[in-house]
Symmetry: C2
């Protein structure tokens, strides 16, 4: 292989075919992917198909706990899982900057491969474009995904209902702090790792415990505060959140204090928040805690019929305030 | 709206929500898209689903006959159509450079909307990321798409068979020459326009004439020569092409001569090449000519059992030579 990416690798000709052929052969081989056909073909059963897309521009491309490759798989798998869907397949669209090291690209493809295997999802197709030096920043990845929603599952950000318990699957802020600390060259007393992880297994366990879960969301860009606000607005309900109940690693809390960040607004890539009818909450919580990605799950609040569209925070110091969505930009290129 | 894109438009917070909300409301409104849910949900029937992705990095973003928005819709619709699939839905992933004019983004979204309406496909979801000035080049777009393949249709680049007639839907090289002339500030005696167009209607008409079509391909990057080589290799057959039969606009021929380009290697974005059993070729050709995007369709050659993996060109001047796939880079960022 060449040492760096050249424009010819995006030509659609021989150099493209060799690069993509080698990468697919080494990292993505399965029964469906075929780098020479324009579409992948999959058999589906009648039902509801979830379809999602996300582009990843994280800077730096390698960070503690992951890289742009694993993140791109986890993010899209999680978006499918948040609809209650069982992920079937994803596509991989690469935009490469001329001069990117082929070894870095290989390392990223290795992460894609490993993340897809853990999530049990196939990469069935892709596309590679190359732009001149200075017209992109190393590598951008788009992943799109499809999955089937089992019958009887009705999950939507508009479905939260008064009385629902709000369960968070674990600690907040790990991903954002890990990325920003690596980007800024900061080092904290302990090594903070991104929580980037596939949540479809966790969701499957939760749905096995209760098919009545109303809403699920992975609080990525904008953090938990922004996701909660979107759900409050869409469902037309109020949310009462107990700040002290929100799991937070001491080292992340410490880093956020140093950086002047509120961890409730910092991105997560391996967490979800679920809105569960009160009667089912205990069972769902137990199912979550039995899963490696839900070990620290906790009930952090409940849905109320008052103050529709508003998130009210009972603060750790005993006060109460409105938790607004993120305004302005907190951390650019966090995912 | 703001005048230019700022980093906050990619924050996932209020500024993102306002930008995306306004764009969706104005250009993409339909029953399925919801900018607050992570996945779109569609009902599908049992069958074969085609799934494809492509990123678009064309430079310049506006060119004669189209722009990056219409191109992104056409390209993905066409990739689905080349599998014989009826396009159902596409997603739109935007990577924006800080400083992009919002008016340019709106013009592009208008093109997306118009192209999707003409192709009869819904944009059901999307994603918007913003990177700092200098970390991208204005706008990159990823479109992914899904579609259903009617039963009885078996189209693949591995299915070309000796005796098949090779039909090209129209003139070659229009897109590549239109983009490169605008990029380089060249002007030719006549205005050469990109052929960027949705081909799903044409494909539907072709399949109504014959469900036995073996192979279809849209010759984009790498041009007709590269697509033919890929099919010859995948199907393990030889192809005999009559150069004089390949439709070519005189002004494109002239421009290619000036630019030192071989039109057989120049990208097309609204053309397809089909491999059709001899008995059905006349009917398919007639069906193509009755469609606005197949008006200039012509039989350009046939499949032979000799010389598997090779494309042989009977040249316009009466000679014969091997037509190889594109090596190196001809025209960077043509799509």
């Amino acid at each position: 292989m060449d040492e760096v990416i050249r424009l010819a690798h995006g030509s659609g000709g021989e150099a493209s075919r060799k690069l993509v052929g080698d990468l697919v052969e080494t990292y993505l081989k399965n029964d469906i992917i075929d780098c020479l056909d324009d579409s992948a073909v999959l058999s589906v059963r009648e039902g509801r198909l979830a379809f999602t897309t996300d582009s990843y521009v994280v800077d730096p491309i390698f960070f503690p706990g992951g890289d742009i490759g694993s993140l791109a798989v986890h993010g899209t798998v999680n978006d499918l899982a948040m609809a209650g869907a069982k992920p079937l397949a994803i596509t991989l669209g690469l935009i490469l900057e001329e001069g990117l090291k082929v070894l870095d690209l290989e390392r990223i493809m290795g992460s894609v491969s490993q993340a897809a295997a853990e999530a049990g999802v196939m990469v069935v197709g892709g596309d590679t474009k190359v732009v001149e030096r200075g017209s992109a920043d190393g590598i951008f990845i788009n992943t799109s995904g499809i999955g089937m929603i089992p019958s009887g599952i009705e999950i939507s950000s508009a479905n939260a209902r008064p009385g629902d318990k709000i369960i968070l699957s674990g600690t907040v802020g790990d991903h954002g702090v890990a990325v920003i600390s690596r980007r800024e060259g900061l080092s904290f007393e302990t090594d903070i790792k991104s929580d980037s992880a596939p949540l479809n297994g966790l969701v499957e366990a939760m749905l096995a415990s209760s098919s009545a879960i109303h809403t699920m969301r992975d609080p990525t860009r904008g953090g938990l505060a922004t996701s909660l606000n979107e759900i409050a607005t869409k469902s037309g309900v109020g949310l009462l959140i107990d700040e002290a109940a929100v799991p937070l690693k001491p080292e992340v809390e410490h880093a956020c204090e140093m950086l002047g960040l509120d961890p409730l607004y910092v991105a997560n890539e391996g967490k979800l928040v679920a809105f569960v009818p009160s009667d089912d909450a205990e069972g769902v919580l137990a199912a979550m805690r039995a899963n490696p990605y839900g070990r620290d799950a906790a009930v952090i609040g409940e849905v109320i019929s008052e103050s529709p569209g508003t998130v009210i925070l009972n603060t750790a110091v005993g006060g109460q305030r409105i938790l607004s969505p993120l305004s302005g930009e907190l951390l650019p290129r966090i995912c």
